[in-house]
């Protein structure tokens, strides 16, 4: 992080090499176009540089810090741009895999995330995917799926408790 703060080319490129693709992929999933996803990726790294002094490794991993920035920026953009159509929903396990191309740390992150998702019931997983990967609010999900709002909220809560439990004890970077 010191390297990023100082604007070191090596540090920026090392960070990009590790996290650029996951961030781009999340941006693409949420925003729906390569152009938007690439703009988002640039914004995420610029924001990370701006906020680098604020990053506290004792409070969380660098990977989740960057992904939080990416998700916040993407959802914010999604909701600001009124009328923007969301990309077609693609469930996580329907996305074609590209094994062997990632750095080990990202593969570990991915494995943990997939395990966390697999700990959910099908109904919970569907709602989490709609909320996190499509940026839908609980009310939007309820209206789209024809499920009572209270049920959506309850399932999202139970799902996140399981995801949090699956994340407990993960090694700090």
């Amino acid at each position: 992080m010191e390297g990023l703060l100082a604007g070191s080319d090596d540090a920026i490129r090392a960070l990009y090499a590790r996290y650029g693709r996951p961030i781009y992929s999340l941006g693409y999933r949420l925003l729906g176009t390569r152009e938007s996803a690439e703009e988002l990726t640039q914004d995420v790294f610029l924001t990370a540089w701006r906020k680098a002094a604020r990053f506290d490794p004792t409070r969380g991993r660098l990977s989740t810090w960057l992904m939080t920035i990416a998700h916040n920026l993407a959802v914010d953009r999604l909701r600001r741009e009124t009328g923007v159509s969301r990309p077609t929903l693609v469930l996580v396990d329907e996305v074609p895999d590209a094994p062997g191309l990632d750095e080990e740390a990202v593969l570990i992150e991915r494995d943990a995330a997939l395990r966390a998702l697999s700990s959910l019931t099908e109904a919970e997983r569907r709602l989490v995917v709609r909320a996190y990967f499509r940026g839908m609010t609980a009310r939007e999900i309820a209206e789209t799926d024809g499920i009572p709002l209270g049920t959506v909220k309850t399932r999202l809560r139970s799902a996140m408790i399981k995801v949090r439990k699956a994340n407990e004890g993960k090694d700090e970077l």
Partner: protein, 267 residues
């Protein structure tokens, strides 16, 4: 909002599934409650980890260079100017802005409070005065005296939730190299609108709401004017100002609409 209600919403908050109006009370609660904040942090980290579940896609090969160039450009702009000057200038900017508003405030406040509303002439004077204030402030920004060369300033006009409820203005200065700054002036708030105090002045942005300051009874002058200011680590994207009374009702609000970039200093 109490802890139980907040915790019921934290999962949706972490997933980004709360609409802004429902996220706002949660954002207002978290800075003051360590227990809820701890739980929110855990849930946010858990939700962020989900982002890695996606099979990675390949961006264009040029993206790496564009990312590096974007950061390098921001670093270069920061490094063109000594940080110590930036901080001194920031304080000078705040002082100048506050002084300018104080000078304009008397007439402004009187009009906002409704004492001059009957007069078209006064309304015209007010319009000219407001325009003049904005122009003078733009001039102020466009000198080399204030802040980092990459600083950006955002200005908002605050409008009342209820007619005759006063007004105000807000300034944020966002810098890549030194702390960011927010200044909010509330003006012309009539006594009848100052019943439920303190007012809470917040900026809303990508990570929720940030408290700029609270205004209690003693914070207002005779024209119903008050000013709050605070430094922040990062105000990128914080573009909505919301002033609420002690009951949580919106009193004033505004969007950062006017944007100015501080001019580059002479090399």
């Amino acid at each position: 909002m109490n802890c139980t209600t907040v915790r019921d919403r934290l999962a949706e908050h972490a997933l980004g599934a709360l609409p802004p109006r429902e996220a706002d009370p949660v954002d207002r609660h978290l800075p003051w409650c360590a227990a809820c904040r701890k739980e929110a942090g855990e849930l946010h980290r858990a939700s962020a980890s989900l982002g890695f579940a996606l099979a990675p896609l390949d961006p264009s090969p040029e993206l790496e260079d564009r990312v590096a160039d974007t950061v390098h450009a921001a670093v270069a702009r920061r490094d063109r100017r000594p940080q110590s000057n930036g901080r001194r200038s920031r304080l000078a900017l705040v002082a100048a802005f506050a002084a300018m508003l104080a000078v304009l405030g008397t007439g402004w406040g009187a009009v906002m409070a409704g004492r001059a509303e009957r007069s078209d002439e006064a309304a015209k004077r007010q319009a000219i005065m407001s325009q003049s204030a904005v122009e003078r402030f733009q001039d102020l920004l466009n000198t080399a005296e204030f802040g980092d060369v990459d600083d950006e300033a955002f200005i908002a006009t605050l409008t009342p939730a209820n007619p005759g409820g006063g007004g105000g203005s807000a300034l944020t200065v966002v810098s890549p190299s030194i702390t960011d700054m927010a200044i909010v002036l509330v003006n012309g708030v009539p006594p009848e609108a100052r019943v439920s105090l303190p007012f809470a002045v917040r900026l809303r942005g990508p990570e929720g709401a940030l408290m700029v300051g609270r205004i209690d009874k003693d914070g207002f002058d005779d024209d119903g004017a008050a000013i709050v200011m605070r430094e922040f680590l990062d105000l990128v994207g914080y573009d909505t100002v919301i002033v609420r009374d002690a009951d949580g009702r919106v009193v004033l609000h505004g969007e950062m609409e006017t944007r100015a970039t501080v001019a580059s200093p002479t090399p």
